[in-house]
């Protein structure tokens, strides 16, 4: 069972990475508005069929 000594810290490292990613996305404002992006996504999609979207 000595594998536990590797797996347990590894699990914590993965959790730490997940938390870091979450903090990054919150600070980037991804959770500020939860309604609009869902709608905007549909629009951009429809437009890309027509011509390339110049926006990043």
């Amino acid at each position: 069972m000595s594998v536990l000594y590797i797996v347990l810290p590894l699990a914590l490292v993965i959790a730490a990475v997940a938390v870091w990613a979450f903090v990054w996305s919150v600070k980037g404002g991804q959770f500020d508005d939860l309604d609009t992006p869902a709608m905007r996504m549909l629009h951009d999609d429809a437009e890309q069929r027509g011509r390339a979207d110049p926006r990043p």
Binding site: M1, F22, V26
Partner: protein, 819 residues
């Protein structure tokens, strides 16, 4: 839409004129469509034979600004506005936020963003759909903000400046809380995995080294959650202690910290129980409650923000060249000349320099009849100019005006009001005392029975008594209630106010009259005279801005109308006109009597009407008085039912109005309110005083719509602002009714009572749970596994109970005709 013309090559949608995506272009077809929706609508319009709409519309576009945005938005380019609302960025771009009217579907979102992107100089336009808030980045050297605003108004979304900064504070707070929550979630998941291993080992045995590993592992893993995520609880518990209040967060902090430090101690010494999983789960669940509460509050405050934004914050200042320019209110100084056109709100106090008109004082003083003003008359900010353009010399800056002073009064009144102590916080004081006492008893008792278990058992007691459910009970119930109330058109700004309203078993309920119980506008309620007079009157009064004129037109408009000529308006009296070759005189009895022969029977009518507080209007044709109309500010159709229902709910209903006492009494009679509870002629100060003296020994609910009600609203236990009211009034109220009328008021009271009941049930349940848990801990039966099972179950019950309840429908349907 005109933006489409700038795109070369793409065909335009036959319905909405936006460019059609290439993939949707049908070769050779006469009509092209940008989407299926447009195609369907186009088909429907043609099927109905209304195809001319498309021809008419292009004409409309030519004069587009007149339809929605008669304003040129000059004020947005004023330096005062720019420094207050816009932000210059280091890359030379300017940023600001605007509230848009009329955003209601995802096509609006698309239209707004796309049409702005095609304006040269606009770098970015992002619309937040839920808040109808648009963030724009633009190059000030290429395009002025007024042009961007004009474009928005042209496509049907009139913009209003949003106040910068107010929201950003809330946003930062919410982000931080979200990070705390995410961290606590990740930690409690991992710690729980290790705890499961420990539970397994507890049942079937495990190697000493693994047991040590998991205990140290969970100690380290829970460290960030306890230190960082739990911080808000410790802080508010500490603040509570400093102010000598036993806040809900105190027992929470004690439980969390006792659990963590005893676990850490037990880990270091290598014996005893650890409760890391329970501690982390506790923090996580409590933070969920906090976040929900914060989001609800923010949403409510944003809705009220939107209401502010919709009220004009500009005035037309006359420059030295005699030209009127729109400037922000803050830029107006004493001695400036401002122009107030018909239907505009007077910006601040001043003296009329030129022009004659009538002012609607109803929002400022509650008077239902307009007041005539002429040169050298004093006018007040917040009143509405009804007839002709006035030029006013400003005598007080906005801050020192009467409205400004009322705003100060509102601020004072709300500062001096005793804060609502929520039930959970009142329970918390007792709770923490009892838990600490029990912990000491447990420690003392076990010190005698088995000293090695004394510490473990008292810590177990502290953890299991940590009021997880108690801490969640109030925020969840209130969050659910506020959310459901919003769907019924009731916006509650604070949960505490909702809870306070629900706790009232009765008390005094003050209604404002004008605009709250009544429609706030004149209507014809009685008419004597021959039928053939009606079309003549309607023709003569057509296009009138005066409330009496509009009431007459509205009442008689269905009759076929001849054209009127020789129209002459006499300020303060009435009008004369020639309609179909007959000379008409319409106006007050005094005005008509001086110009026409009188039939004495009309005198008796006028006397009878004055008993009912009707305003008489006489109509003379060819020199003889032939008809009379009685006008009144009519009661809302649901007013009687609502007042009755509120009486049944235990309230003592009063009317508190700035209008003439005889009018107030007549309204009171119609609603079945005894005369001694109808208070007329009340100034804003009188209203405030009456509410404050009543609030000293009773609970007071105030319902109003005007500036004159604002201070009273702020001073009342619960202040309710009704639809269509004034800005200051919304700022002062705890609850707004978004639908016209007071029909939702009974639903609000019912809903608030249910909310309070839910909160009470939740609290009772968590107390029962805590008693059981404490009993188990004191007898030494409790171990980490049982604690870990009990904890989430109690929270689950509270959550289900909170979301189970329904906010009642409005008992009387609010009338549609008002819209």
């Amino acid at each position: 839409m005109q933006t489409a013309h700038q795109v070369v090559g793409d065909p335009e949608c036959s319905h909405c004129s936006l460019p059609v995506p290439r993939s949707l272009v049908e070769e050779g077809a006469e009509h092209q469509f940008c989407c299926l929706g447009c195609k369907t609508v186009f088909g429907m319009i043609h099927a109905e034979g209304l195809g001319a709409y498309y021809d008419l519309r292009s004409e409309d576009d030519e004069r587009a600004p007149a339809a929605v945005g008669s304003s040129s938005y000059q004020e947005l380019d004023d330096p005062t506005f720019v420094t207050q609302h816009c932000q210059a960025r280091p890359d030379g771009l300017m940023a600001t936020e605007l509230y848009l009217e009329g955003v209601h579907c995802s096509a609006c979102l698309w239209l707004v963003e796309k049409s702005l992107e095609r304006v040269d100089g606009v770098a970015e336009a992002r619309l937040n759909f839920a808040q109808a808030r648009l963030k724009v980045l633009w190059r000030p050297d290429q395009v002025p903000l007024s042009a961007i605003a004009g474009q928005l108004a042209k496509i049907g979304y009139p913009p209003h400046p949003a106040r910068l900064g107010t929201r950003d504070v809330g946003k930062e707070e919410e982000r931080r809380l979200l990070i705390r929550l995410g961290l606590a979630g990740a930690v409690s998941g991992n710690v729980m995995l290790m705890a499961f291993a420990l539970y397994g080992g507890w049942v079937s045995g495990m190697a000493e080294e693994h047991w040590t590993l998991f205990r140290w592992g969970s100690l380290f893993a829970s460290l960030p959650a306890v230190l960082y995520s739990g911080w808000p609880f410790y802080r508010s518990a500490y603040n509570g202690l400093r102010n000598r209040v036993l806040h809900m967060d105190l027992p929470i902090s004690i439980g969390v910290l006792a659990g963590f430090f005893s676990g850490a101690y037990n880990t270091v010494v290598g014996k005893g129980e650890v409760y890391f999983d329970s501690v982390c789960a506790l923090i996580f669940l409590l933070l969920v409650g906090r976040l929900l509460q914060l989001r609800q509050q923010r949403r409510a405050s944003e809705s009220s923000e939107l209401l502010y934004a919709l009220t004009p914050s500009t005035a037309r200042r006359l420059g030295e060249d005699g030209e009127a320019r729109r400037v922000p209110l803050q830029a107006i100084e004493v001695g400036d000349l401002i122009e107030v056109r018909a239907q505009e709100t007077v910006a601040t106090d001043g003296v009329v320099e030129s022009g004659r008109s009538a002012l609607d004082l109803s929002l400022l003083s509650g008077e239902s009849m307009p007041v005539e003003v002429k040169k050298h008359d004093q006018v007040w900010g917040g009143t509405v100019n009804l007839q002709d353009t006035l030029v006013v010399r400003v005598s007080h800056a906005v801050r020192d005006s009467r409205v400004g002073r009322i705003a100060d009064m509102v601020a004072d009144a709300s500062r001096n009001r005793a804060p609502v102590v929520q039930l959970a916080d009142r329970v918390a004081g007792w709770f923490v005392a009892i838990v600490l006492l029990l912990a000491m008893v447990t420690f003392a008792a076990w010190s005698i029975i088995a000293p090695e278990h004394a510490l473990d058992h008292s810590v177990a007691l502290l953890i299991v008594s940590c009021p997880c459910a108690l801490g969640l009970a109030t925020p969840l119930a209130i969050t659910a209630a506020i959310g459901k109330a919003a769907r019924r058109g009731i916006l509650a700004r604070s949960g505490a106010a909702l809870e306070a309203l629900g706790r009232l078993k009765g008390g005094v309920l003050y209604f404002d009259k004008t605009g709250t119980l009544t429609h706030g506008r004149m209507e014809v309620v009685a008419f004597v005279g021959p039928e053939w007079v009606r079309p003549l009157v309607a023709a003569a009064e057509k296009g009138s801005n005066h409330p009496v004129g509009r009431a007459l037109t509205q009442a008689f408009e269905d009759a076929a109308q001849p054209e009127a000529s020789d129209l002459e308006t006499v300020s303060g009296g009435g009008i004369t006109a020639t309609v179909g070759g007959r000379a008409l005189i319409i106006g007050s009895p005094k005005f008509v009597r001086s110009r026409a022969l009188l039939d004495s029977s009309f005198e008796t009518h006028v006397q009878a009407w004055s008993q009912e507080a009707l305003t008489p209007v006489w109509i003379a044709v060819d020199g003889r008085v032939v008809a009379a109309a009685g006008l009144a500010d009519r009661l809302r159709s649901e007013a009687k039912a609502s007042v009755d229902a509120l009486g049944k709910q235990g309230f003592e209903v009063h009317i508190l109005s700035g209008d003439h006492p005889s009018v107030v009494h007549s309204v009171g009679r119609a609603l079945g309110i005894p005369a001694e509870r109808c208070h007329g002629g009340q100034s804003p100060e009188d209203k405030l005083q009456r509410v404050q003296s009543a609030a000293a020994d009773k609970d007071v609910v105030m319902v109003g719509d005007g500036v004159n009600d604002a201070a009273a609203l702020a001073a009342a236990t619960v202040g309710v602002a009704v639809h269509g009211g004034a800005e200051t009034c919304f700022a002062a109220a705890d609850v707004f009714l978004q639908r016209p009328g007071i029909g939702t008021l009974t639903a609000l009271v019912q809903g608030a009572r249910r909310t309070t009941r839910t909160i009470r049930n939740n609290i009772i349940f968590s107390l029962v749970y805590n008693t059981v848990g404490a009993g188990l801990a004191m007898t030494g039966v409790l171990n980490p596994l049982i604690a870990a099972v009990l904890m989430p179950i109690s929270s689950l019950v509270v959550v289900t109970n909170s979301f189970r309840f329904h906010f009642p429908e409005a008992s009387t349907e609010s009338e549609e005709e008002a819209a």
